[in-house]
Subunit: 252 residues, 2 copies
Amino acid sequence: MEATIAGCAELGVPGIGLWRDQVAELGVARTAILARAAGLEVTSLCRGGFFNAPDWFDDNRRAIDEAAELGAPVLVLVSGGLPEGSRDVDGARRAVGDAVGRLVPHAQSAGVRLAIEPLHPMFAADRCVVATLGQALDLAEPYPSSAVGVCVDTYHLWWDDQVWAQLARAGAAGRIACFQVADWITPLPEGVLLGRGLPGTGCVELRRFREAVDATGYTGPIEVEVFHEDVWSRPGGEVLKETIERYVEHVL
Amino acid sequence: MEATIAGCAELGVPGIGLWRDQVAELGVARTAILARAAGLEVTSLCRGGFFNAPDWFDDNRRAIDEAAELGAPVLVLVSGGLPEGSRDVDGARRAVGDAVGRLVPHAQSAGVRLAIEPLHPMFAADRCVVATLGQALDLAEPYPSSAVGVCVDTYHLWWDDQVWAQLARAGAAGRIACFQVADWITPLPEGVLLGRGLPGTGCVELRRFREAVDATGYTGPIEVEVFHEDVWSRPGGEVLKETIERYVEHVL
Protein backbone atom coordinates (compact mmCIF):
# COMPACT_ATOMS: atom_id res chain seq x y z
CA MET A 1 0.00 0.00 0.00
CA GLU A 2 2.72 2.48 1.00
CA ALA A 3 4.75 1.76 -2.15
CA THR A 4 1.67 2.00 -4.38
CA ILE A 5 0.58 5.32 -2.92
CA ALA A 6 4.11 6.70 -3.24
CA GLY A 7 4.42 5.38 -6.79
CA CYS A 8 1.11 6.91 -7.88
CA ALA A 9 2.03 10.26 -6.39
CA GLU A 10 5.46 10.19 -8.05
CA LEU A 11 4.03 9.42 -11.49
CA GLY A 12 1.21 11.95 -11.29
CA VAL A 13 -1.67 9.52 -10.93
CA PRO A 14 -4.34 11.69 -9.29
CA GLY A 15 -6.35 9.01 -7.50
CA ILE A 16 -6.46 5.45 -6.29
CA GLY A 17 -9.21 2.89 -5.69
CA LEU A 18 -8.54 0.82 -2.59
CA TRP A 19 -9.39 -2.70 -1.48
CA ARG A 20 -10.56 -3.34 2.05
CA ASP A 21 -8.22 -6.23 2.79
CA GLN A 22 -5.16 -4.15 1.88
CA VAL A 23 -6.48 -1.14 3.76
CA ALA A 24 -6.99 -3.38 6.79
CA GLU A 25 -3.34 -4.45 6.73
CA LEU A 26 -2.10 -0.87 7.03
CA GLY A 27 -5.09 0.39 9.00
CA VAL A 28 -7.85 2.67 7.78
CA ALA A 29 -6.64 5.78 9.57
CA ARG A 30 -3.02 5.36 8.47
CA THR A 31 -4.06 4.68 4.86
CA ALA A 32 -6.23 7.79 4.84
CA ILE A 33 -3.39 9.91 6.18
CA LEU A 34 -0.87 8.50 3.71
CA ALA A 35 -3.14 9.06 0.71
CA ARG A 36 -3.97 12.60 1.80
CA ALA A 37 -0.32 13.42 2.45
CA ALA A 38 0.54 12.17 -1.04
CA GLY A 39 -2.19 14.36 -2.56
CA LEU A 40 -3.99 11.28 -3.79
CA GLU A 41 -7.77 11.17 -4.05
CA VAL A 42 -9.27 7.87 -2.84
CA THR A 43 -11.69 7.23 -5.69
CA SER A 44 -13.52 4.15 -4.36
CA LEU A 45 -13.41 1.37 -1.83
CA CYS A 46 -13.78 -2.28 -2.92
CA ARG A 47 -15.77 -3.98 -1.70
CA GLY A 48 -18.97 -4.39 0.19
CA GLY A 49 -21.70 -6.83 -0.71
CA PHE A 50 -21.64 -10.63 -0.34
CA PHE A 51 -25.17 -10.34 0.98
CA ASN A 52 -25.57 -14.02 1.75
CA ALA A 53 -22.83 -13.96 4.38
CA PRO A 54 -24.39 -14.19 7.86
CA ASP A 55 -22.87 -10.88 9.01
CA TRP A 56 -23.48 -8.97 5.79
CA PHE A 57 -25.39 -6.12 7.42
CA ASP A 58 -22.81 -5.21 10.02
CA ASP A 59 -19.91 -5.85 7.68
CA ASN A 60 -21.34 -3.56 5.01
CA ARG A 61 -22.01 -0.86 7.55
CA ARG A 62 -18.37 -1.11 8.59
CA ALA A 63 -17.33 -0.91 4.95
CA ILE A 64 -19.38 2.27 4.54
CA ASP A 65 -17.69 3.76 7.60
CA GLU A 66 -14.26 2.82 6.24
CA ALA A 67 -15.07 4.46 2.90
CA ALA A 68 -16.14 7.62 4.73
CA GLU A 69 -12.97 7.67 6.81
CA LEU A 70 -10.84 7.19 3.69
CA GLY A 71 -12.70 9.99 1.91
CA ALA A 72 -13.85 7.52 -0.77
CA PRO A 73 -17.11 8.75 -2.29
CA VAL A 74 -18.09 5.27 -3.46
CA LEU A 75 -18.32 1.79 -1.95
CA VAL A 76 -18.40 -0.91 -4.65
CA LEU A 77 -20.82 -3.78 -3.94
CA VAL A 78 -20.22 -7.29 -5.26
CA SER A 79 -23.42 -9.07 -4.44
CA GLY A 80 -22.21 -12.59 -3.72
CA GLY A 81 -23.41 -15.73 -5.44
CA LEU A 82 -26.29 -18.08 -4.81
CA PRO A 83 -26.92 -19.11 -1.22
CA GLU A 84 -25.44 -22.54 -0.42
CA GLY A 85 -27.52 -25.22 -2.13
CA SER A 86 -29.89 -22.77 -3.79
CA ARG A 87 -30.78 -22.65 -7.49
CA ASP A 88 -33.04 -19.61 -7.23
CA VAL A 89 -31.08 -16.95 -9.08
CA ASP A 90 -34.12 -14.70 -9.51
CA GLY A 91 -34.75 -14.82 -5.77
CA ALA A 92 -31.10 -14.16 -5.03
CA ARG A 93 -31.18 -11.04 -7.21
CA ARG A 94 -34.30 -9.76 -5.46
CA ALA A 95 -32.59 -10.32 -2.11
CA VAL A 96 -29.64 -8.20 -3.30
CA GLY A 97 -31.96 -5.33 -4.09
CA ASP A 98 -33.55 -5.57 -0.65
CA ALA A 99 -30.16 -5.72 1.07
CA VAL A 100 -28.91 -2.64 -0.78
CA GLY A 101 -32.06 -0.84 0.32
CA ARG A 102 -31.36 -1.68 3.95
CA LEU A 103 -27.91 -0.06 3.63
CA VAL A 104 -29.13 3.14 2.03
CA PRO A 105 -29.87 5.14 5.22
CA HIS A 106 -26.43 4.45 6.70
CA ALA A 107 -24.72 5.17 3.39
CA GLN A 108 -26.58 8.45 3.01
CA SER A 109 -25.73 9.61 6.50
CA ALA A 110 -22.07 8.68 5.92
CA GLY A 111 -21.99 10.49 2.57
CA VAL A 112 -20.92 7.33 0.74
CA ARG A 113 -22.57 6.24 -2.49
CA LEU A 114 -23.22 2.54 -3.03
CA ALA A 115 -22.24 1.18 -6.46
CA ILE A 116 -23.79 -2.14 -7.51
CA GLU A 117 -21.25 -3.90 -9.72
CA PRO A 118 -22.40 -6.44 -12.29
CA LEU A 119 -19.75 -9.13 -12.63
CA HIS A 120 -19.25 -11.29 -15.72
CA PRO A 121 -21.86 -14.09 -15.92
CA MET A 122 -19.13 -16.66 -15.28
CA PHE A 123 -19.26 -15.46 -11.65
CA ALA A 124 -23.07 -15.67 -11.34
CA ALA A 125 -23.13 -18.85 -9.26
CA ASP A 126 -20.39 -18.25 -6.73
CA ARG A 127 -19.48 -14.58 -6.62
CA CYS A 128 -22.10 -12.21 -8.02
CA VAL A 129 -25.65 -13.01 -9.13
CA VAL A 130 -25.81 -9.54 -10.71
CA ALA A 131 -24.47 -10.34 -14.18
CA THR A 132 -25.42 -7.48 -16.51
CA LEU A 133 -25.56 -3.70 -16.35
CA GLY A 134 -29.29 -3.96 -17.02
CA GLN A 135 -29.77 -6.12 -13.92
CA ALA A 136 -27.69 -3.73 -11.79
CA LEU A 137 -29.77 -0.76 -12.95
CA ASP A 138 -33.01 -2.64 -12.25
CA LEU A 139 -31.81 -3.26 -8.70
CA ALA A 140 -30.69 0.34 -8.18
CA GLU A 141 -33.90 1.84 -9.55
CA PRO A 142 -36.00 1.95 -6.35
CA TYR A 143 -33.40 4.10 -4.59
CA PRO A 144 -32.21 7.69 -5.14
CA SER A 145 -29.37 7.87 -7.66
CA SER A 146 -27.40 9.95 -5.18
CA ALA A 147 -27.40 6.95 -2.83
CA VAL A 148 -27.21 3.97 -5.19
CA GLY A 149 -25.37 3.84 -8.48
CA VAL A 150 -23.64 1.18 -10.54
CA CYS A 151 -20.05 0.28 -11.23
CA VAL A 152 -19.22 -0.04 -14.93
CA ASP A 153 -16.33 -2.45 -15.48
CA THR A 154 -15.25 -3.19 -19.04
CA TYR A 155 -13.95 -6.66 -18.17
CA HIS A 156 -17.37 -7.80 -16.99
CA LEU A 157 -19.52 -6.12 -19.63
CA TRP A 158 -17.71 -6.12 -22.98
CA TRP A 159 -19.45 -9.21 -24.44
CA ASP A 160 -22.96 -7.78 -23.96
CA ASP A 161 -24.59 -6.23 -27.02
CA GLN A 162 -27.10 -4.53 -24.70
CA VAL A 163 -24.41 -2.70 -22.76
CA TRP A 164 -24.41 0.42 -24.95
CA ALA A 165 -28.13 0.98 -24.46
CA GLN A 166 -27.75 0.25 -20.75
CA LEU A 167 -24.86 2.73 -20.45
CA ALA A 168 -27.11 5.39 -21.96
CA ARG A 169 -29.84 4.38 -19.50
CA ALA A 170 -27.37 4.55 -16.62
CA GLY A 171 -26.19 7.96 -17.70
CA ALA A 172 -29.69 9.37 -18.14
CA ALA A 173 -30.56 8.20 -14.63
CA GLY A 174 -27.30 9.57 -13.17
CA ARG A 175 -26.35 6.11 -11.96
CA ILE A 176 -22.71 5.74 -13.02
CA ALA A 177 -20.84 5.85 -9.72
CA CYS A 178 -17.64 4.13 -10.74
CA PHE A 179 -15.86 3.28 -14.01
CA GLN A 180 -13.21 0.56 -14.10
CA VAL A 181 -11.20 -0.75 -17.03
CA ALA A 182 -9.39 -4.01 -17.63
CA ASP A 183 -8.87 -6.12 -20.70
CA TRP A 184 -10.13 -9.65 -21.46
CA ILE A 185 -7.39 -12.16 -22.13
CA THR A 186 -7.56 -15.89 -22.75
CA PRO A 187 -7.16 -18.66 -21.76
CA LEU A 188 -8.97 -18.06 -18.50
CA PRO A 189 -7.15 -19.35 -15.41
CA GLU A 190 -8.59 -22.00 -13.08
CA GLY A 191 -11.30 -20.39 -10.97
CA VAL A 192 -11.36 -17.50 -13.50
CA LEU A 193 -10.82 -14.78 -10.88
CA LEU A 194 -7.30 -13.68 -11.75
CA GLY A 195 -7.64 -13.31 -15.51
CA ARG A 196 -7.89 -9.52 -15.93
CA GLY A 197 -5.40 -8.03 -18.37
CA LEU A 198 -3.67 -4.65 -18.61
CA PRO A 199 -5.35 -2.27 -21.08
CA GLY A 200 -4.59 -3.20 -24.67
CA THR A 201 -3.49 -6.77 -23.98
CA GLY A 202 -6.89 -8.25 -24.83
CA CYS A 203 -9.98 -7.87 -26.98
CA VAL A 204 -12.09 -5.23 -25.21
CA GLU A 205 -12.97 -2.05 -27.09
CA LEU A 206 -11.76 0.08 -24.18
CA ARG A 207 -11.89 3.41 -25.98
CA ARG A 208 -15.43 2.71 -27.17
CA PHE A 209 -16.41 2.18 -23.53
CA ARG A 210 -14.64 5.33 -22.38
CA GLU A 211 -16.35 7.35 -25.12
CA ALA A 212 -19.74 5.83 -24.31
CA VAL A 213 -19.29 6.63 -20.61
CA ASP A 214 -18.09 10.14 -21.47
CA ALA A 215 -21.17 10.60 -23.65
CA THR A 216 -23.41 10.05 -20.60
CA GLY A 217 -21.86 13.12 -18.97
CA TYR A 218 -19.79 11.11 -16.48
CA THR A 219 -16.80 13.15 -15.34
CA GLY A 220 -15.59 10.97 -12.48
CA PRO A 221 -12.40 8.96 -12.21
CA ILE A 222 -11.45 6.02 -14.42
CA GLU A 223 -9.82 3.21 -12.49
CA VAL A 224 -7.56 0.61 -14.08
CA GLU A 225 -8.19 -2.61 -12.15
CA VAL A 226 -6.14 -5.64 -13.09
CA PHE A 227 -5.80 -8.98 -11.31
CA HIS A 228 -3.36 -11.42 -12.83
CA GLU A 229 -0.56 -13.48 -11.35
CA ASP A 230 1.71 -12.50 -14.25
CA VAL A 231 1.16 -8.82 -13.46
CA TRP A 232 1.41 -9.24 -9.71
CA SER A 233 4.70 -11.11 -10.02
CA ARG A 234 6.40 -8.10 -11.65
CA PRO A 235 7.92 -5.08 -9.83
CA GLY A 236 5.13 -2.67 -8.93
CA GLY A 237 6.83 0.43 -10.31
CA GLU A 238 7.30 -1.18 -13.70
CA VAL A 239 3.65 -2.28 -13.79
CA LEU A 240 2.50 1.20 -12.82
CA LYS A 241 4.50 2.81 -15.65
CA GLU A 242 3.20 0.32 -18.19
CA THR A 243 -0.35 0.77 -16.92
CA ILE A 244 -0.15 4.52 -17.43
CA GLU A 245 1.27 4.10 -20.95
CA ARG A 246 -1.38 1.56 -21.88
CA TYR A 247 -4.12 3.70 -20.36
CA VAL A 248 -3.04 6.65 -22.48
CA GLU A 249 -2.79 4.51 -25.60
CA HIS A 250 -5.94 2.39 -25.27
CA VAL A 251 -8.39 4.23 -23.03
CA LEU A 252 -7.90 7.99 -23.29
CA MET B 1 -18.66 -44.67 -30.05
CA GLU B 2 -19.53 -48.35 -30.41
CA ALA B 3 -19.78 -48.81 -26.65
CA THR B 4 -21.87 -45.66 -26.24
CA ILE B 5 -24.32 -46.66 -28.95
CA ALA B 6 -24.63 -50.15 -27.50
CA GLY B 7 -25.04 -48.75 -23.99
CA CYS B 8 -27.76 -46.30 -25.04
CA ALA B 9 -29.66 -49.04 -26.87
CA GLU B 10 -29.39 -51.38 -23.89
CA LEU B 11 -30.71 -48.82 -21.42
CA GLY B 12 -33.54 -47.63 -23.64
CA VAL B 13 -32.15 -44.22 -24.52
CA PRO B 14 -33.99 -43.41 -27.76
CA GLY B 15 -31.49 -41.07 -29.39
CA ILE B 16 -27.96 -39.74 -29.37
CA GLY B 17 -26.32 -36.46 -30.34
CA LEU B 18 -22.97 -37.03 -32.01
CA TRP B 19 -19.73 -35.09 -32.24
CA ARG B 20 -17.92 -34.87 -35.55
CA ASP B 21 -14.47 -35.78 -34.26
CA GLN B 22 -15.76 -39.01 -32.74
CA VAL B 23 -17.83 -39.78 -35.82
CA ALA B 24 -14.71 -39.28 -37.92
CA GLU B 25 -12.78 -41.86 -35.88
CA LEU B 26 -15.30 -44.56 -36.66
CA GLY B 27 -16.32 -43.21 -40.05
CA VAL B 28 -19.60 -41.52 -40.96
CA ALA B 29 -21.06 -44.48 -42.86
CA ARG B 30 -20.19 -47.00 -40.18
CA THR B 31 -21.55 -44.76 -37.40
CA ALA B 32 -24.80 -44.31 -39.31
CA ILE B 33 -25.16 -48.06 -39.79
CA LEU B 34 -24.40 -48.81 -36.14
CA ALA B 35 -26.89 -46.25 -34.82
CA ARG B 36 -29.58 -47.44 -37.19
CA ALA B 37 -28.96 -51.09 -36.31
CA ALA B 38 -29.26 -50.21 -32.62
CA GLY B 39 -32.56 -48.45 -33.24
CA LEU B 40 -31.02 -45.18 -32.10
CA GLU B 41 -32.13 -41.86 -33.57
CA VAL B 42 -29.22 -39.48 -34.26
CA THR B 43 -30.66 -36.30 -32.78
CA SER B 44 -27.99 -33.79 -33.81
CA LEU B 45 -24.46 -33.40 -35.03
CA CYS B 46 -22.00 -31.14 -33.17
CA ARG B 47 -20.56 -29.06 -34.55
CA GLY B 48 -20.24 -26.76 -37.53
CA GLY B 49 -19.39 -23.10 -37.30
CA PHE B 50 -16.00 -21.57 -36.43
CA PHE B 51 -16.64 -19.11 -39.22
CA ASN B 52 -13.30 -17.37 -38.96
CA ALA B 53 -11.36 -20.48 -39.94
CA PRO B 54 -10.02 -20.11 -43.47
CA ASP B 55 -11.86 -23.22 -44.75
CA TRP B 56 -15.13 -22.58 -42.89
CA PHE B 57 -17.32 -22.72 -45.98
CA ASP B 58 -16.16 -26.08 -47.28
CA ASP B 59 -15.88 -27.55 -43.81
CA ASN B 60 -19.42 -26.57 -42.89
CA ARG B 61 -20.75 -27.96 -46.16
CA ARG B 62 -19.03 -31.22 -45.29
CA ALA B 63 -20.56 -31.11 -41.80
CA ILE B 64 -24.01 -30.67 -43.37
CA ASP B 65 -23.38 -33.67 -45.61
CA GLU B 66 -22.25 -35.73 -42.64
CA ALA B 67 -25.39 -34.79 -40.69
CA ALA B 68 -27.52 -35.82 -43.65
CA GLU B 69 -25.70 -39.15 -43.99
CA LEU B 70 -26.13 -39.80 -40.24
CA GLY B 71 -29.81 -38.95 -40.44
CA ALA B 72 -29.29 -36.09 -37.97
CA PRO B 73 -31.94 -33.43 -38.55
CA VAL B 74 -29.81 -30.70 -36.96
CA LEU B 75 -26.27 -29.39 -37.29
CA VAL B 76 -25.25 -27.33 -34.25
CA LEU B 77 -23.19 -24.24 -35.09
CA VAL B 78 -20.66 -22.78 -32.65
CA SER B 79 -19.68 -19.52 -34.27
CA GLY B 80 -16.05 -19.20 -33.28
CA GLY B 81 -14.53 -16.26 -31.43
CA LEU B 82 -13.07 -12.99 -32.56
CA PRO B 83 -10.76 -13.07 -35.56
CA GLU B 84 -7.08 -13.02 -34.53
CA GLY B 85 -6.17 -9.58 -33.23
CA SER B 86 -9.68 -8.16 -33.66
CA ARG B 87 -11.70 -6.36 -31.01
CA ASP B 88 -14.79 -5.90 -33.18
CA VAL B 89 -17.33 -8.16 -31.51
CA ASP B 90 -20.29 -6.47 -33.23
CA GLY B 91 -18.66 -7.01 -36.62
CA ALA B 92 -17.84 -10.61 -35.76
CA ARG B 93 -21.49 -11.27 -34.91
CA ARG B 94 -22.65 -9.73 -38.17
CA ALA B 95 -20.18 -11.94 -40.03
CA VAL B 96 -21.66 -15.01 -38.33
CA GLY B 97 -25.11 -14.10 -39.59
CA ASP B 98 -23.78 -13.68 -43.12
CA ALA B 99 -21.91 -17.00 -42.97
CA VAL B 100 -25.00 -18.85 -41.76
CA GLY B 101 -26.90 -17.35 -44.67
CA ARG B 102 -24.34 -18.63 -47.15
CA LEU B 103 -24.86 -22.16 -45.78
CA VAL B 104 -28.65 -22.08 -45.96
CA PRO B 105 -29.08 -23.30 -49.56
CA HIS B 106 -26.85 -26.33 -49.04
CA ALA B 107 -28.48 -27.13 -45.70
CA GLN B 108 -31.95 -26.88 -47.21
CA SER B 109 -31.10 -29.15 -50.10
CA ALA B 110 -29.55 -31.66 -47.68
CA GLY B 111 -32.56 -31.53 -45.37
CA VAL B 112 -30.44 -30.47 -42.39
CA ARG B 113 -31.47 -27.64 -40.11
CA LEU B 114 -28.80 -25.27 -38.84
CA ALA B 115 -28.91 -24.48 -35.12
CA ILE B 116 -27.04 -21.39 -33.95
CA GLU B 117 -25.83 -22.08 -30.42
CA PRO B 118 -25.20 -19.22 -28.01
CA LEU B 119 -22.34 -20.14 -25.71
CA HIS B 120 -21.78 -18.67 -22.25
CA PRO B 121 -20.25 -15.17 -22.42
CA MET B 122 -17.01 -16.53 -20.95
CA PHE B 123 -16.40 -18.02 -24.42
CA ALA B 124 -17.17 -14.83 -26.35
CA ALA B 125 -13.55 -13.98 -27.17
CA ASP B 126 -12.12 -17.31 -28.22
CA ARG B 127 -14.94 -19.75 -29.00
CA CYS B 128 -18.30 -18.16 -29.74
CA VAL B 129 -19.13 -14.49 -30.18
CA VAL B 130 -22.83 -15.42 -29.96
CA ALA B 131 -23.36 -15.14 -26.21
CA THR B 132 -27.10 -14.93 -25.54
CA LEU B 133 -30.26 -16.54 -26.87
CA GLY B 134 -31.40 -13.10 -27.94
CA GLN B 135 -28.30 -12.65 -30.11
CA ALA B 136 -28.76 -16.10 -31.67
CA LEU B 137 -32.37 -15.32 -32.53
CA ASP B 138 -31.40 -11.97 -34.02
CA LEU B 139 -28.91 -13.76 -36.27
CA ALA B 140 -31.40 -16.46 -37.26
CA GLU B 141 -34.19 -14.01 -38.03
CA PRO B 142 -33.43 -13.26 -41.70
CA TYR B 143 -33.71 -16.94 -42.66
CA PRO B 144 -36.65 -19.36 -42.71
CA SER B 145 -37.14 -21.08 -39.36
CA SER B 146 -37.20 -24.43 -41.16
CA ALA B 147 -33.60 -23.78 -42.24
CA VAL B 148 -32.10 -21.90 -39.28
CA GLY B 149 -32.98 -22.42 -35.64
CA VAL B 150 -31.18 -22.08 -32.33
CA CYS B 151 -29.72 -24.50 -29.85
CA VAL B 152 -30.90 -23.96 -26.27
CA ASP B 153 -28.30 -25.15 -23.77
CA THR B 154 -29.00 -24.68 -20.08
CA TYR B 155 -25.31 -24.48 -19.18
CA HIS B 156 -24.77 -21.44 -21.38
CA LEU B 157 -28.00 -19.59 -20.66
CA TRP B 158 -29.01 -20.10 -17.03
CA TRP B 159 -27.55 -16.84 -15.67
CA ASP B 160 -29.54 -14.65 -18.10
CA ASP B 161 -32.71 -13.04 -16.73
CA GLN B 162 -33.79 -12.38 -20.33
CA VAL B 163 -33.69 -16.06 -21.29
CA TRP B 164 -37.32 -16.78 -20.38
CA ALA B 165 -38.64 -14.06 -22.64
CA GLN B 166 -36.22 -15.15 -25.36
CA LEU B 167 -37.37 -18.78 -25.05
CA ALA B 168 -40.93 -17.62 -25.60
CA ARG B 169 -39.75 -15.60 -28.61
CA ALA B 170 -37.86 -18.63 -29.95
CA GLY B 171 -40.91 -20.81 -29.53
CA ALA B 172 -43.29 -18.37 -31.18
CA ALA B 173 -40.94 -18.17 -34.17
CA GLY B 174 -40.49 -21.94 -34.31
CA ARG B 175 -36.74 -21.57 -33.85
CA ILE B 176 -35.89 -24.16 -31.17
CA ALA B 177 -33.95 -26.76 -33.13
CA CYS B 178 -32.06 -28.40 -30.31
CA PHE B 179 -32.32 -28.53 -26.52
CA GLN B 180 -29.33 -29.54 -24.43
CA VAL B 181 -28.99 -29.77 -20.66
CA ALA B 182 -26.00 -29.66 -18.35
CA ASP B 183 -25.46 -28.23 -14.91
CA TRP B 184 -23.19 -25.38 -13.78
CA ILE B 185 -20.60 -26.37 -11.20
CA THR B 186 -17.77 -24.39 -9.65
CA PRO B 187 -14.90 -23.78 -9.47
CA LEU B 188 -14.42 -23.49 -13.22
CA PRO B 189 -11.41 -25.37 -14.58
CA GLU B 190 -8.52 -23.68 -16.40
CA GLY B 191 -9.67 -22.74 -19.89
CA VAL B 192 -13.28 -23.23 -18.66
CA LEU B 193 -14.24 -25.68 -21.43
CA LEU B 194 -14.56 -28.87 -19.43
CA GLY B 195 -16.68 -27.63 -16.53
CA ARG B 196 -20.14 -28.99 -17.45
CA GLY B 197 -21.80 -31.03 -14.71
CA LEU B 198 -24.28 -33.91 -14.72
CA PRO B 199 -27.89 -32.82 -14.13
CA GLY B 200 -28.53 -31.98 -10.50
CA THR B 201 -24.88 -31.51 -9.50
CA GLY B 202 -25.00 -27.73 -9.90
CA CYS B 203 -27.16 -24.64 -9.62
CA VAL B 204 -29.19 -24.58 -12.86
CA GLU B 205 -32.97 -24.69 -12.62
CA LEU B 206 -33.10 -27.53 -15.16
CA ARG B 207 -36.76 -28.37 -14.71
CA ARG B 208 -37.72 -24.71 -15.12
CA PHE B 209 -35.88 -24.74 -18.45
CA ARG B 210 -37.54 -27.97 -19.55
CA GLU B 211 -40.95 -26.63 -18.65
CA ALA B 212 -40.28 -23.33 -20.43
CA VAL B 213 -39.12 -25.17 -23.55
CA ASP B 214 -42.14 -27.48 -23.35
CA ALA B 215 -44.41 -24.45 -23.06
CA THR B 216 -43.19 -23.23 -26.45
CA GLY B 217 -44.59 -26.38 -28.05
CA TYR B 218 -41.18 -27.96 -28.59
CA THR B 219 -41.51 -31.75 -28.79
CA GLY B 220 -38.04 -32.65 -29.99
CA PRO B 221 -35.31 -34.52 -28.16
CA ILE B 222 -33.57 -33.36 -24.99
CA GLU B 223 -29.85 -34.06 -25.02
CA VAL B 224 -27.75 -34.33 -21.87
CA GLU B 225 -24.34 -32.93 -22.81
CA VAL B 226 -21.62 -33.03 -20.18
CA PHE B 227 -17.90 -32.39 -20.52
CA HIS B 228 -15.84 -32.90 -17.40
CA GLU B 229 -12.63 -34.78 -16.74
CA ASP B 230 -14.13 -36.27 -13.58
CA VAL B 231 -17.04 -37.69 -15.59
CA TRP B 232 -14.88 -38.82 -18.48
CA SER B 233 -12.52 -40.67 -16.17
CA ARG B 234 -15.32 -42.97 -14.94
CA PRO B 235 -16.62 -46.14 -16.67
CA GLY B 236 -19.03 -45.14 -19.44
CA GLY B 237 -21.79 -47.54 -18.44
CA GLU B 238 -21.85 -46.20 -14.90
CA VAL B 239 -22.00 -42.61 -16.15
CA LEU B 240 -24.82 -43.46 -18.54
CA LYS B 241 -26.91 -45.02 -15.76
CA GLU B 242 -26.33 -42.06 -13.46
CA THR B 243 -27.14 -39.65 -16.27
CA ILE B 244 -30.49 -41.33 -16.86
CA GLU B 245 -31.33 -41.28 -13.14
CA ARG B 246 -30.35 -37.64 -12.82
CA TYR B 247 -32.25 -36.73 -15.98
CA VAL B 248 -35.40 -38.33 -14.61
CA GLU B 249 -34.93 -36.66 -11.23
CA HIS B 250 -33.89 -33.17 -12.31
CA VAL B 251 -35.11 -32.58 -15.85
CA LEU B 252 -38.28 -34.59 -16.53
